[in-house]
Symmetry: C2
Subunit: 374 residues, 2 copies
């Protein structure tokens, strides 16, 4: 094995591959980056228990003198490549288990791992896949994955539920205290399908997707989903089990509707959360619609102090006075999911879930369960 390549190009791809690198694993082989050097390209593979990444690099700067393969300790390799000087870096397998790295006046030798211990990963593409713009997928993930549960006692809720029927795809995430839902139109029509993708996998995927106009392909099979994007294959396991029926949780009638400037609401909630009762990690904040249609955001931390914020709704308010209390973090998280600068909060009652929508966020809603206070 012997090749050289532009250092920056290599680093760019290494940082993507790193997303699937295991740091804590009973299998030391998974701490490695598998490097397959072919005549015309090199292929990097990384894997942990949830996701696997395979990246083809056929950059013009690549010059392969002798094909080969090696399993390289990932953490050290990335640290070293990032610190190198010079534009070009040259690699060779010196002795059987020694990778030689040369750049400028540096000469680094790294003991490689046993390549035979690396699992056989199958990145199988299907004939029937879904294609969408990469920005559309990034938005879908950004607007839903944050609402998944991070607690493992109901593992199914750590995933995003994706349902496809005809030309419609719906994503739902909930940790049972809040729920995010987004529906979008697909180009083309598909068989009915329902899968649950780990929220963490989607968040790692989002980090390696650039904000460009490229397309991404989504290939499903029984237990896995494969995303194909430019020179990268991203494989995630699916969660097994039945996702709870969520459509009945979403109220349909909203006697009270208030439209806010998103930024003004956000800073008022942030200030109120500074002095508030804590319910675990949650800062509890109150919202009151007054009879004069002004809104008061308030909080009270006994012994410490209290906050009172006055807000004027953007449009005429629908409905009569209401008092509701909720976790400020849930509300702030939900606000960040909106592109709209004005958002509407739709209330059913003081102890019923409320639903947030935005004019420029079609087919997306954020639902939050209020908390009871005295």
């Amino acid at each position: 094995m012997r090749f050289e390549i532009n250092k920056d190009k290599l680093i760019h791809n290494l940082l993507a591959a790193q997303k699937a690198l295991s740091t804590k694993t009973p299998n030391p082989a998974l701490q490695g980056i598998k490097l397959d050097v072919l005549k015309e390209k090199i292929v990097m593979t990384t894997s942990n228990s949830d996701i696997s990444i395979k990246i083809d690099i056929d950059d013009p700067s690549l010059s392969v003198e002798e094909p080969g393969a090696a399993l390289i300790p990932g953490k050290y390799f990335i640290e070293i490549i990032r610190k190198l000087d010079g534009q070009t870096v040259a690699f060779s397998l010196a002795e059987e288990n020694m990778l030689q790295i040369e750049a400028d006046r540096s000469n680094i030798t790294l003991n490689v791992l046993e390549i035979d211990d690396y699992p056989n990963l199958v990145f199988k593409e299907k004939e029937d896949f879904i294609k969408m713009n990469v920005r559309t997928l990034k938005t879908l993930i950004r607007q839903t994955a944050f609402a998944t549960s991070t607690i493992e006692n109901r593992p199914i809720l750590t995933g995003v539920h994706l349902q496809i029927e005809g030309d419609e795809m719906t994503a739902v995430a909930t940790d049972s205290y809040r729920l995010s839902k987004k529906t979008l139109k697909l180009e083309g029509s598909y068989d009915k399908m329902s899968v649950i993708i780990p929220g963490k996998s989607l968040e790692e995927l989002m980090k390696i997707l650039e904000n460009n106009a490229a397309d991404i392909e989504i290939h499903f099979d029984q237990s896995r989903v494969l995303f194909k994007y430019e020179n990268t294959l991203f494989l995630s396991r699916l969660l097994e089990g039945n996702y709870p029926e969520t459509s009945k949780l979403i109220p349909q009638e909203f006697p009270v509707r208030i439209k806010f400037n998103k930024e003004a609401l956000s800073v008022a909630i942030e200030r109120a959360s500074l002095l508030s009762i804590r319910d675990g990690h949650n800062a509890i904040v109150k919202l009151a619609l007054k009879s004069d249609d002004s809104v008061e955001i308030s909080s009270n931390a006994p012994e410490i102090g209290r906050v009172r914020e006055e807000l004027y709704p953007v449009d005429e308010v629908t409905g009569s006075p209401i008092n509701i209390a909720f976790s400020s973090r849930y509300l702030l998280d939900a606000l960040k999911a909106f592109a709209s600068s004005e958002i509407t909060i739709n209330f059913t009652g003081e102890i019923r879930p409320f639903v947030m929508t935005g004019e420029y966020d079609e087919n997306m809603l954020q639902l939050i369960l209020p908390v009871k206070t005295d």
Copy 2:
């Protein structure tokens, strides 16, 4: 008590006062910021076991309606003020133990602390003080304080030793593995004096000093030092005890001298430290002067790999081949203290301390003890 002030001006001063705010303290009063509202100015005071800060604010935006005083919970106060909207913020003591904060549409009430519990701090200026440019003092601190010990088993070494004699001030810091020394000329002549200032105090002081042309006054007494800078008084306790005699530790004869480009040496050491034997937190790196006057920086982490870096000295080398090993962190820390882009390492022998100097860093030296390797 009732006043209003420009919010940004207040925040700027609060962030300076925060440096002496206690977070963990058996005395809850020290978690407070003492606010004295006079007719023409407000005075903020904070204190912890090492340092106390007193800041006068007589900004044109300040408008005092009613003088008074309050002890305000520091952490909450700073968080709240930073989050406020609007240009101006108004304060009043509503009921006896309630501070009312108003800005834009926010109305915040904060329970104040018992002001009678606050210690009586004396910020006493002396007639005979040292005056110097604030940049000179910042440089002195930056070049020495990092070499103080952070381990409490020899408390005296956690301080910087300052000696004044005539028109000369010398600062020395050492953790017994390395030593930094800087001498500078004072304007005026002073009685002989020797004090030890906690390194941490100097590092906090440095954070609130701006990089401007202003002067700073230094007032010493038996057990404390007071720095006076613009509208700020910064008081630190001194360390008691005798500082070890350090001048004999510094070799005077250097048979081997090598001049390096600082940046090239620094990146070579950084790379070598990635794959090296660890001695506690220290990564051990080797430097070898070869017979052809080239220098090799190398490291070796058994089982993982090794690094070999070739460096060409800037000028002709003085002396014969030498092999020396040292902690990479100590060398990198020392390099950062230099303004010069070229630095000289002066060696006495393979197991003797070596001394680093720089052409544009007059009267400053950095000394490092090598480690023994086989």
